[in-house]
Amino acid sequence: MTTIVQISNLTKRYITTTALSDVTLEVPEGHIVGLLGPNGSGKTTLMKILAGLVSPTSGTVLVDGIAPGVATKAKVSFLPDVNHLDRWMSVGEAGSFYADFYVDFDRKRFDELLTIMRLSASQKIGSLSRGMVEKARLSLIFSRRARLYVLDEPFGGLDPLARSQVLDALVANFRADCSMILSTQMVADVERFFDDVAFLDGGRVVLAGDAEDLRMRRGASIEEIYREVYGHVETRQV
Protein backbone atom coordinates (compact mmCIF):
# COMPACT_ATOMS: atom_id res chain seq x y z
CA MET A 1 0.00 0.00 0.00
CA THR A 2 1.38 3.36 -0.95
CA THR A 3 1.79 6.14 1.54
CA ILE A 4 0.24 9.40 0.51
CA VAL A 5 1.66 11.48 3.33
CA GLN A 6 5.02 10.98 4.97
CA ILE A 7 6.02 13.42 7.67
CA SER A 8 9.33 12.98 9.49
CA ASN A 9 10.55 15.08 12.38
CA LEU A 10 8.59 18.10 11.26
CA THR A 11 9.18 21.25 13.25
CA LYS A 12 7.65 24.67 12.68
CA ARG A 13 8.98 27.56 14.65
CA TYR A 14 7.82 31.15 14.62
CA ILE A 15 9.60 34.05 16.30
CA THR A 16 7.73 33.69 19.57
CA THR A 17 6.19 30.21 19.46
CA THR A 18 6.85 26.69 18.29
CA ALA A 19 3.78 25.41 16.50
CA LEU A 20 5.02 21.91 15.74
CA SER A 21 7.78 19.93 17.35
CA ASP A 22 9.33 16.80 15.90
CA VAL A 23 6.12 15.46 14.37
CA THR A 24 6.26 12.13 12.59
CA LEU A 25 3.15 10.86 10.87
CA GLU A 26 2.18 8.64 7.98
CA VAL A 27 -1.06 8.44 6.07
CA PRO A 28 -1.50 5.34 3.93
CA GLU A 29 -3.57 5.39 0.78
CA GLY A 30 -7.30 4.94 1.33
CA HIS A 31 -7.21 5.97 4.98
CA ILE A 32 -9.11 8.62 6.87
CA VAL A 33 -7.02 10.14 9.63
CA GLY A 34 -8.43 12.12 12.51
CA LEU A 35 -6.20 14.89 13.76
CA LEU A 36 -7.34 15.62 17.28
CA GLY A 37 -6.39 18.09 19.95
CA PRO A 38 -7.43 21.33 21.59
CA ASN A 39 -7.05 24.72 19.96
CA GLY A 40 -3.44 25.68 19.59
CA SER A 41 -2.15 22.12 19.53
CA GLY A 42 -0.75 22.51 16.02
CA LYS A 43 -3.42 20.81 13.93
CA THR A 44 -4.07 23.80 11.68
CA THR A 45 -0.36 24.46 11.18
CA LEU A 46 0.21 20.85 10.21
CA MET A 47 -2.60 20.96 7.71
CA LYS A 48 -1.46 24.24 6.21
CA ILE A 49 2.00 22.76 5.72
CA LEU A 50 0.45 19.84 3.84
CA ALA A 51 -1.49 22.32 1.75
CA GLY A 52 1.72 24.19 0.92
CA LEU A 53 0.61 27.39 2.64
CA VAL A 54 3.15 27.32 5.44
CA SER A 55 6.81 26.45 5.06
CA PRO A 56 8.39 23.98 7.51
CA THR A 57 11.31 25.05 9.67
CA SER A 58 12.92 21.60 9.62
CA GLY A 59 12.08 17.99 8.91
CA THR A 60 10.63 16.39 5.81
CA VAL A 61 7.11 16.48 4.47
CA LEU A 62 6.23 14.38 1.45
CA VAL A 63 2.87 14.37 -0.26
CA ASP A 64 2.73 11.54 -2.77
CA GLY A 65 6.50 11.44 -2.64
CA ILE A 66 7.22 15.13 -3.22
CA ALA A 67 7.66 18.12 -0.96
CA PRO A 68 4.74 20.57 -0.84
CA GLY A 69 4.81 22.94 -3.78
CA VAL A 70 3.05 23.70 -7.04
CA ALA A 71 2.73 20.04 -8.01
CA THR A 72 1.27 18.93 -4.68
CA LYS A 73 -1.24 21.79 -4.66
CA ALA A 74 -2.78 20.22 -7.72
CA LYS A 75 -3.26 17.01 -5.75
CA VAL A 76 -4.28 18.33 -2.34
CA SER A 77 -7.79 19.64 -1.75
CA PHE A 78 -7.67 21.88 1.30
CA LEU A 79 -10.57 23.20 3.33
CA PRO A 80 -9.41 26.00 5.66
CA ASP A 81 -11.26 26.62 8.89
CA VAL A 82 -12.25 30.10 7.71
CA ASN A 83 -14.15 31.20 4.63
CA HIS A 84 -11.55 31.52 1.92
CA LEU A 85 -13.87 32.65 -0.85
CA ASP A 86 -14.51 36.16 -2.16
CA ARG A 87 -17.74 37.48 -0.80
CA TRP A 88 -19.00 38.84 -4.10
CA MET A 89 -18.39 35.59 -5.94
CA SER A 90 -21.44 33.47 -6.52
CA VAL A 91 -21.45 29.77 -5.67
CA GLY A 92 -21.45 28.91 -9.35
CA GLU A 93 -18.58 31.31 -10.05
CA ALA A 94 -16.58 29.72 -7.25
CA GLY A 95 -17.17 26.39 -8.98
CA SER A 96 -15.99 27.82 -12.30
CA PHE A 97 -12.92 29.25 -10.58
CA TYR A 98 -12.05 25.87 -9.14
CA ALA A 99 -12.74 24.19 -12.47
CA ASP A 100 -10.42 26.65 -14.21
CA PHE A 101 -7.45 26.10 -11.96
CA TYR A 102 -7.85 22.53 -10.76
CA VAL A 103 -7.73 19.86 -13.42
CA ASP A 104 -9.30 17.33 -11.06
CA PHE A 105 -12.45 19.37 -10.47
CA ASP A 106 -15.60 17.44 -11.35
CA ARG A 107 -18.30 19.88 -12.42
CA LYS A 108 -21.02 17.26 -12.44
CA ARG A 109 -20.31 16.18 -8.89
CA PHE A 110 -20.29 19.82 -7.83
CA ASP A 111 -23.77 20.34 -9.22
CA GLU A 112 -24.93 17.13 -7.50
CA LEU A 113 -23.51 18.23 -4.17
CA LEU A 114 -25.11 21.65 -4.50
CA THR A 115 -28.46 19.93 -5.00
CA ILE A 116 -27.94 17.73 -1.95
CA MET A 117 -26.88 20.70 0.15
CA ARG A 118 -29.78 22.75 -1.22
CA LEU A 119 -27.64 25.53 -2.52
CA SER A 120 -28.26 27.57 -5.62
CA ALA A 121 -25.40 28.43 -7.97
CA SER A 122 -26.50 32.02 -8.30
CA GLN A 123 -26.29 32.92 -4.63
CA LYS A 124 -23.45 35.21 -3.67
CA ILE A 125 -21.13 33.90 -0.98
CA GLY A 126 -21.58 37.10 0.99
CA SER A 127 -25.32 36.57 1.18
CA LEU A 128 -25.14 33.07 2.62
CA SER A 129 -25.49 32.13 6.27
CA ARG A 130 -22.48 30.62 7.98
CA GLY A 131 -23.76 27.07 7.64
CA MET A 132 -24.51 27.53 3.95
CA VAL A 133 -21.06 28.96 3.27
CA GLU A 134 -19.58 25.90 4.94
CA LYS A 135 -21.68 23.61 2.78
CA ALA A 136 -20.68 25.53 -0.35
CA ARG A 137 -17.00 25.29 0.52
CA LEU A 138 -17.28 21.59 1.30
CA SER A 139 -18.99 21.04 -2.04
CA LEU A 140 -16.05 22.71 -3.77
CA ILE A 141 -13.45 20.72 -1.88
CA PHE A 142 -15.18 17.38 -2.39
CA SER A 143 -15.79 18.00 -6.07
CA ARG A 144 -12.08 17.69 -6.68
CA ARG A 145 -10.84 14.18 -7.29
CA ALA A 146 -7.75 14.81 -5.25
CA ARG A 147 -5.13 12.46 -3.81
CA LEU A 148 -5.36 14.05 -0.42
CA TYR A 149 -8.18 15.90 1.26
CA VAL A 150 -7.15 18.10 4.15
CA LEU A 151 -10.13 19.39 6.10
CA ASP A 152 -9.76 21.81 8.98
CA GLU A 153 -12.87 21.64 11.16
CA PRO A 154 -15.26 20.71 8.35
CA PHE A 155 -18.19 20.33 10.72
CA GLY A 156 -18.00 23.69 12.43
CA GLY A 157 -21.12 25.72 11.91
CA LEU A 158 -23.19 22.83 10.60
CA ASP A 159 -26.51 21.76 12.06
CA PRO A 160 -26.98 18.02 12.71
CA LEU A 161 -28.76 17.48 9.40
CA ALA A 162 -26.04 19.17 7.41
CA ARG A 163 -23.46 17.24 9.36
CA SER A 164 -25.01 13.92 8.43
CA GLN A 165 -25.29 15.08 4.82
CA VAL A 166 -21.59 15.86 4.82
CA LEU A 167 -20.70 12.56 6.46
CA ASP A 168 -22.83 10.77 3.91
CA ALA A 169 -21.09 12.64 1.09
CA LEU A 170 -17.79 11.68 2.67
CA VAL A 171 -18.64 7.99 2.66
CA ALA A 172 -20.27 8.09 -0.76
CA ASN A 173 -17.18 9.70 -2.29
CA PHE A 174 -14.74 7.48 -0.46
CA ARG A 175 -12.17 6.08 -2.83
CA ALA A 176 -9.40 3.63 -2.15
CA ASP A 177 -6.92 5.71 -4.13
CA CYS A 178 -7.08 8.82 -1.99
CA SER A 179 -6.72 9.76 1.67
CA MET A 180 -8.20 12.23 4.05
CA ILE A 181 -6.94 14.11 7.07
CA LEU A 182 -9.49 15.94 9.08
CA SER A 183 -9.56 17.75 12.37
CA THR A 184 -12.65 18.16 14.44
CA GLN A 185 -13.85 19.09 17.89
CA MET A 186 -16.85 16.79 17.49
CA VAL A 187 -14.93 13.63 18.22
CA ALA A 188 -17.89 11.53 19.31
CA ASP A 189 -19.92 12.21 16.19
CA VAL A 190 -17.12 11.54 13.75
CA GLU A 191 -14.90 8.94 15.38
CA ARG A 192 -16.41 6.08 13.40
CA PHE A 193 -14.86 7.55 10.26
CA PHE A 194 -11.32 7.44 11.37
CA ASP A 195 -9.06 4.64 10.30
CA ASP A 196 -6.28 6.23 12.30
CA VAL A 197 -6.11 9.00 14.85
CA ALA A 198 -3.31 11.28 15.96
CA PHE A 199 -3.56 13.33 19.13
CA LEU A 200 -1.58 16.57 19.14
CA ASP A 201 -0.66 18.57 22.20
CA GLY A 202 1.57 21.60 22.21
CA GLY A 203 2.81 20.78 18.72
CA ARG A 204 3.76 17.20 19.54
CA VAL A 205 2.11 13.90 18.71
CA VAL A 206 1.25 12.44 22.11
CA LEU A 207 -0.67 9.41 20.85
CA ALA A 208 -1.33 7.93 17.45
CA GLY A 209 -2.59 4.68 16.03
CA ASP A 210 -5.33 2.63 14.43
CA ALA A 211 -8.70 3.71 15.82
CA GLU A 212 -10.12 0.22 16.23
CA ASP A 213 -6.89 -0.94 17.77
CA LEU A 214 -7.07 1.86 20.34
CA ARG A 215 -10.68 1.00 21.13
CA MET A 216 -9.76 -2.63 21.70
CA ARG A 217 -6.65 -1.99 23.78
CA ARG A 218 -8.16 0.69 25.94
CA GLY A 219 -11.73 -0.51 26.00
CA ALA A 220 -12.75 3.07 25.42
CA SER A 221 -14.17 5.22 22.66
CA ILE A 222 -11.89 7.68 20.90
CA GLU A 223 -13.73 10.47 22.67
CA GLU A 224 -13.00 8.92 26.05
CA ILE A 225 -9.37 8.45 25.08
CA TYR A 226 -9.34 12.13 24.09
CA ARG A 227 -10.45 13.04 27.61
CA GLU A 228 -7.83 10.79 29.12
CA VAL A 229 -5.11 12.24 26.96
CA TYR A 230 -5.92 15.86 27.66
CA GLY A 231 -6.95 15.26 31.23
CA HIS A 232 -10.09 17.28 31.39
CA VAL A 233 -13.74 16.78 30.70
CA GLU A 234 -14.95 17.95 27.28
CA THR A 235 -18.68 18.45 27.06
CA ARG A 236 -20.11 16.45 24.22
CA GLN A 237 -21.09 18.75 21.38
CA VAL A 238 -24.67 18.36 20.26
Binding site: A51, V82, H84
Partner: protein, 264 residues
Protein backbone atom coordinates in the same frame (compact mmCIF):
# COMPACT_ATOMS: atom_id res chain seq x y z
CA UNK B 1 -0.99 32.89 -14.90
CA UNK B 2 -3.12 34.23 -17.73
CA UNK B 3 -6.17 32.58 -16.24
CA UNK B 4 -5.59 34.61 -13.13
CA UNK B 5 -5.17 37.76 -15.20
CA UNK B 6 -8.48 37.04 -16.88
CA UNK B 7 -10.21 36.72 -13.53
CA UNK B 8 -8.70 39.94 -12.23
CA UNK B 9 -9.74 41.79 -15.36
CA UNK B 10 -13.24 40.43 -15.11
CA UNK B 11 -13.43 41.63 -11.55
CA UNK B 12 -12.41 45.09 -12.70
CA UNK B 13 -14.92 45.35 -15.49
CA UNK B 14 -17.08 47.76 -13.56
CA UNK B 15 -14.17 49.94 -12.52
CA UNK B 16 -12.82 50.15 -16.05
CA UNK B 17 -16.23 50.90 -17.52
CA UNK B 18 -16.99 53.69 -15.06
CA UNK B 19 -13.49 55.13 -15.33
CA UNK B 20 -13.39 55.17 -19.10
CA UNK B 21 -16.87 56.65 -19.34
CA UNK B 22 -15.93 59.40 -16.90
CA UNK B 23 -12.70 60.16 -18.75
CA UNK B 24 -14.51 60.14 -22.05
CA UNK B 25 -17.21 62.41 -20.72
CA UNK B 26 -14.70 64.87 -19.30
CA UNK B 27 -12.79 65.00 -22.56
CA UNK B 28 -15.98 65.44 -24.53
CA UNK B 29 -17.12 68.20 -22.22
CA UNK B 30 -13.88 70.12 -22.53
CA UNK B 31 -13.81 69.51 -26.29
CA UNK B 32 -17.28 70.96 -26.78
CA UNK B 33 -16.28 73.93 -24.66
CA UNK B 34 -13.29 74.53 -26.88
CA UNK B 35 -15.35 74.22 -30.04
CA UNK B 36 -17.78 76.70 -28.57
CA UNK B 37 -14.95 79.07 -27.80
CA UNK B 38 -13.59 78.75 -31.35
CA UNK B 39 -16.87 79.83 -32.81
CA UNK B 40 -17.01 82.80 -30.50
CA UNK B 41 -15.37 85.72 -32.28
CA UNK B 42 -14.90 87.51 -28.98
CA UNK B 43 -12.33 84.92 -27.80
CA UNK B 44 -9.23 86.96 -27.12
CA UNK B 45 -6.26 84.88 -26.00
CA UNK B 46 -5.08 81.43 -27.09
CA UNK B 47 -5.55 78.69 -24.53
CA UNK B 48 -2.32 77.56 -22.92
CA UNK B 49 -1.09 73.98 -23.13
CA UNK B 50 -1.76 73.64 -19.45
CA UNK B 51 -5.50 73.35 -19.99
CA UNK B 52 -5.48 70.14 -22.02
CA UNK B 53 -2.79 68.89 -19.71
CA UNK B 54 -5.18 68.97 -16.75
CA UNK B 55 -7.01 66.22 -18.59
CA UNK B 56 -3.85 64.15 -18.26
CA UNK B 57 -4.00 64.85 -14.56
CA UNK B 58 -7.42 63.19 -14.32
CA UNK B 59 -6.12 60.20 -16.19
CA UNK B 60 -3.30 59.91 -13.70
CA UNK B 61 -5.81 60.06 -10.85
CA UNK B 62 -7.75 57.18 -12.39
CA UNK B 63 -4.51 55.28 -12.84
CA UNK B 64 -3.46 55.89 -9.26
CA UNK B 65 -6.79 54.54 -8.02
CA UNK B 66 -6.41 51.35 -10.03
CA UNK B 67 -2.84 50.84 -8.91
CA UNK B 68 -3.76 51.33 -5.29
CA UNK B 69 -6.53 48.78 -5.69
CA UNK B 70 -4.01 46.43 -7.26
CA UNK B 71 -1.61 46.45 -4.36
CA UNK B 72 -4.32 46.63 -1.70
CA UNK B 73 -5.96 43.50 -3.12
CA UNK B 74 -2.61 41.76 -3.03
CA UNK B 75 -2.06 42.82 0.57
CA UNK B 76 -5.52 41.60 1.52
CA UNK B 77 -4.80 38.25 -0.10
CA UNK B 78 -1.51 38.01 1.75
CA UNK B 79 -2.87 38.92 5.16
CA UNK B 80 -6.48 37.79 4.89
CA UNK B 81 -8.49 34.66 4.33
CA UNK B 82 -8.68 34.87 0.53
CA UNK B 83 -4.99 34.07 0.55
CA UNK B 84 -5.93 30.45 1.18
CA UNK B 85 -7.65 30.49 -2.16
CA UNK B 86 -5.02 32.32 -4.22
CA UNK B 87 -1.91 30.80 -2.71
CA UNK B 88 -3.50 27.37 -2.62
CA UNK B 89 -3.74 27.36 -6.40
CA UNK B 90 -1.20 25.24 -8.27
CA UNK B 91 0.72 28.32 -9.42
CA UNK B 92 4.28 29.44 -8.86
CA UNK B 93 4.88 32.62 -6.93
CA UNK B 94 6.16 34.22 -10.12
CA UNK B 95 2.80 33.55 -11.75
CA UNK B 96 0.79 35.06 -8.92
CA UNK B 97 2.98 38.15 -8.86
CA UNK B 98 3.20 38.17 -12.63
CA UNK B 99 -0.58 38.43 -12.94
CA UNK B 100 -0.49 41.61 -10.83
CA UNK B 101 2.32 43.04 -12.93
CA UNK B 102 0.42 42.28 -16.13
CA UNK B 103 -2.57 44.12 -14.70
CA UNK B 104 -0.32 47.04 -13.92
CA UNK B 105 1.06 47.08 -17.45
CA UNK B 106 -2.45 46.99 -18.89
CA UNK B 107 -3.49 49.86 -16.64
CA UNK B 108 -0.40 51.87 -17.56
CA UNK B 109 -0.83 51.38 -21.29
CA UNK B 110 -4.51 52.22 -21.05
CA UNK B 111 -3.76 55.43 -19.14
CA UNK B 112 -0.93 56.37 -21.48
CA UNK B 113 -2.85 55.89 -24.68
CA UNK B 114 -6.08 57.25 -23.25
CA UNK B 115 -4.32 60.22 -21.75
CA UNK B 116 -2.45 60.98 -24.94
CA UNK B 117 -5.64 60.77 -26.96
CA UNK B 118 -7.49 63.12 -24.63
CA UNK B 119 -4.66 65.64 -24.52
CA UNK B 120 -3.98 65.66 -28.23
CA UNK B 121 -7.67 65.89 -29.15
CA UNK B 122 -8.14 68.80 -26.78
CA UNK B 123 -4.93 70.51 -27.85
CA UNK B 124 -6.08 70.30 -31.46
CA UNK B 125 -9.42 71.85 -30.61
CA UNK B 126 -8.37 74.60 -28.20
CA UNK B 127 -8.65 78.06 -29.72
CA UNK B 128 -5.26 79.56 -30.47
CA UNK B 129 -3.44 76.48 -29.24
CA UNK B 130 -4.79 74.32 -32.02
CA UNK B 131 -3.06 76.35 -34.69
CA UNK B 132 0.20 76.03 -32.80
CA UNK B 133 -0.09 72.32 -32.15
CA UNK B 134 -1.66 70.80 -35.24
CA UNK B 135 1.29 71.00 -37.60
CA UNK B 136 3.55 69.26 -35.12
CA UNK B 137 1.32 66.40 -33.96
CA UNK B 138 2.15 63.94 -36.73
CA UNK B 139 5.88 64.45 -36.34
CA UNK B 140 5.59 64.19 -32.61
CA UNK B 141 3.80 60.89 -32.76
CA UNK B 142 6.64 59.54 -34.86
CA UNK B 143 9.33 60.66 -32.43
CA UNK B 144 11.11 57.47 -31.49
CA UNK B 145 12.58 59.04 -28.39
CA UNK B 146 9.14 59.80 -27.06
CA UNK B 147 7.95 56.23 -27.30
CA UNK B 148 11.17 54.95 -25.81
CA UNK B 149 10.63 57.39 -22.96
CA UNK B 150 7.11 56.05 -22.48
CA UNK B 151 8.53 52.55 -22.35
CA UNK B 152 11.05 53.78 -19.84
CA UNK B 153 8.33 55.31 -17.70
CA UNK B 154 6.36 52.07 -17.89
CA UNK B 155 9.44 50.10 -16.84
CA UNK B 156 10.15 52.45 -13.96
CA UNK B 157 6.57 52.34 -12.69
CA UNK B 158 6.48 48.55 -12.91
CA UNK B 159 9.81 48.32 -11.11
CA UNK B 160 8.61 50.70 -8.44
CA UNK B 161 5.51 48.58 -7.88
CA UNK B 162 7.62 45.43 -7.89
CA UNK B 163 9.61 46.92 -5.06
CA UNK B 164 6.39 47.73 -3.23
CA UNK B 165 5.14 44.18 -3.71
CA UNK B 166 8.45 42.98 -2.37
CA UNK B 167 8.09 45.22 0.65
CA UNK B 168 4.61 43.91 1.45
CA UNK B 169 5.64 40.29 0.95
CA UNK B 170 8.84 40.67 2.92
CA UNK B 171 6.94 42.31 5.75
CA UNK B 172 4.52 39.41 5.80
CA UNK B 173 7.21 36.73 5.86
CA UNK B 174 8.95 38.43 8.74
CA UNK B 175 6.01 39.09 10.97
CA UNK B 176 3.33 36.61 9.82
CA UNK B 177 -0.14 37.40 10.92
CA UNK B 178 0.51 40.54 12.86
CA UNK B 179 -1.02 42.73 10.24
CA UNK B 180 -0.07 46.19 11.35
CA UNK B 181 3.46 45.35 12.20
CA UNK B 182 3.87 43.79 8.78
CA UNK B 183 2.58 46.89 7.02
CA UNK B 184 4.92 49.14 8.93
CA UNK B 185 7.76 46.84 8.05
CA UNK B 186 6.75 46.83 4.43
CA UNK B 187 6.64 50.62 4.30
CA UNK B 188 10.06 50.81 5.90
CA UNK B 189 11.50 48.30 3.46
CA UNK B 190 10.13 50.23 0.49
CA UNK B 191 11.50 53.52 1.75
CA UNK B 192 14.91 52.01 2.41
CA UNK B 193 15.07 50.37 -0.99
CA UNK B 194 14.00 53.53 -2.81
CA UNK B 195 16.51 55.64 -0.90
CA UNK B 196 19.29 53.14 -1.57
CA UNK B 197 18.46 52.99 -5.24
CA UNK B 198 18.47 56.77 -5.52
CA UNK B 199 21.90 56.82 -3.88
CA UNK B 200 23.18 54.05 -6.07
CA UNK B 201 21.86 55.75 -9.18
CA UNK B 202 23.58 58.99 -8.31
CA UNK B 203 26.82 57.15 -7.55
CA UNK B 204 26.73 55.27 -10.83
CA UNK B 205 25.95 58.37 -12.83
CA UNK B 206 28.86 60.30 -11.46
CA UNK B 207 31.42 57.54 -11.21
CA UNK B 208 30.80 55.03 -13.95
CA UNK B 209 28.97 56.84 -16.63
CA UNK B 210 30.74 60.13 -16.51
CA UNK B 211 31.17 61.41 -19.99
CA UNK B 212 28.67 58.93 -21.30
CA UNK B 213 25.43 60.75 -21.67
CA UNK B 214 22.62 58.35 -22.22
CA UNK B 215 19.61 60.51 -22.62
CA UNK B 216 16.54 60.78 -24.76
CA UNK B 217 15.10 63.87 -26.31
CA UNK B 218 11.44 63.06 -26.52
CA UNK B 219 10.22 66.57 -27.24
CA UNK B 220 12.54 67.41 -30.08
CA UNK B 221 9.71 67.50 -32.57
CA UNK B 222 7.55 69.77 -30.45
CA UNK B 223 9.60 72.93 -30.13
CA UNK B 224 7.21 74.80 -27.92
CA UNK B 225 7.22 72.15 -25.23
CA UNK B 226 10.12 71.64 -22.97
CA UNK B 227 12.52 74.00 -21.41
CA UNK B 228 10.12 74.30 -18.48
CA UNK B 229 11.02 72.68 -15.16
CA UNK B 230 7.87 70.58 -15.26
CA UNK B 231 8.74 69.04 -18.60
CA UNK B 232 12.52 68.55 -18.80
CA UNK B 233 14.21 68.75 -22.18
CA UNK B 234 16.03 65.51 -21.73
CA UNK B 235 15.09 62.21 -20.17
CA UNK B 236 18.04 60.49 -18.50
CA UNK B 237 18.48 56.78 -19.01
CA UNK B 238 21.01 55.55 -16.48
CA UNK B 239 18.91 55.98 -13.35
CA UNK B 240 15.83 54.40 -14.87
CA UNK B 241 17.86 51.47 -16.18
CA UNK B 242 19.34 50.85 -12.79
CA UNK B 243 15.93 51.17 -11.22
CA UNK B 244 14.56 48.58 -13.63
CA UNK B 245 17.37 46.24 -12.61
CA UNK B 246 16.29 46.70 -9.02
CA UNK B 247 12.70 46.02 -10.03
CA UNK B 248 13.67 42.75 -11.65
CA UNK B 249 15.55 41.80 -8.54
CA UNK B 250 12.54 42.65 -6.42
CA UNK B 251 10.32 40.48 -8.65
CA UNK B 252 12.65 37.51 -8.34
CA UNK B 253 12.99 37.95 -4.59
CA UNK B 254 9.24 38.27 -4.09
CA UNK B 255 8.56 35.14 -6.14
CA UNK B 256 11.11 33.25 -4.12
CA UNK B 257 9.60 34.43 -0.85
CA UNK B 258 6.14 33.39 -2.01
CA UNK B 259 7.32 29.92 -2.92
CA UNK B 260 9.59 29.21 0.02
CA UNK B 261 8.95 31.45 2.95
CA UNK B 262 5.26 32.11 3.09
CA UNK B 263 3.33 31.39 6.28
CA UNK B 264 -0.33 32.14 5.73
Amino acid sequence: MWKLVRYELRGRRLLYTIGLIVMGALTLYQATRFIGMQENPAQPAPVSMGVPMTMAFFWVLFYAAMTVINIVTYTQDLYGDTGYLIFGLPLRGAEVLGSRIVLLVIDTLMTLLGGMTSVIVLACLAPGLAQQVRPWVAGFLLTGDYWVMCLGVLAVIVSFMAIMFFGVTFGKTLTNSKKHLGSVFSALVVIVVLWLSALLGALLETNLFEGVHLTLSPWKNMPFIGGTPAVPEQFPLVSPLMFVALGLLAFAATSWLMDRKLNL
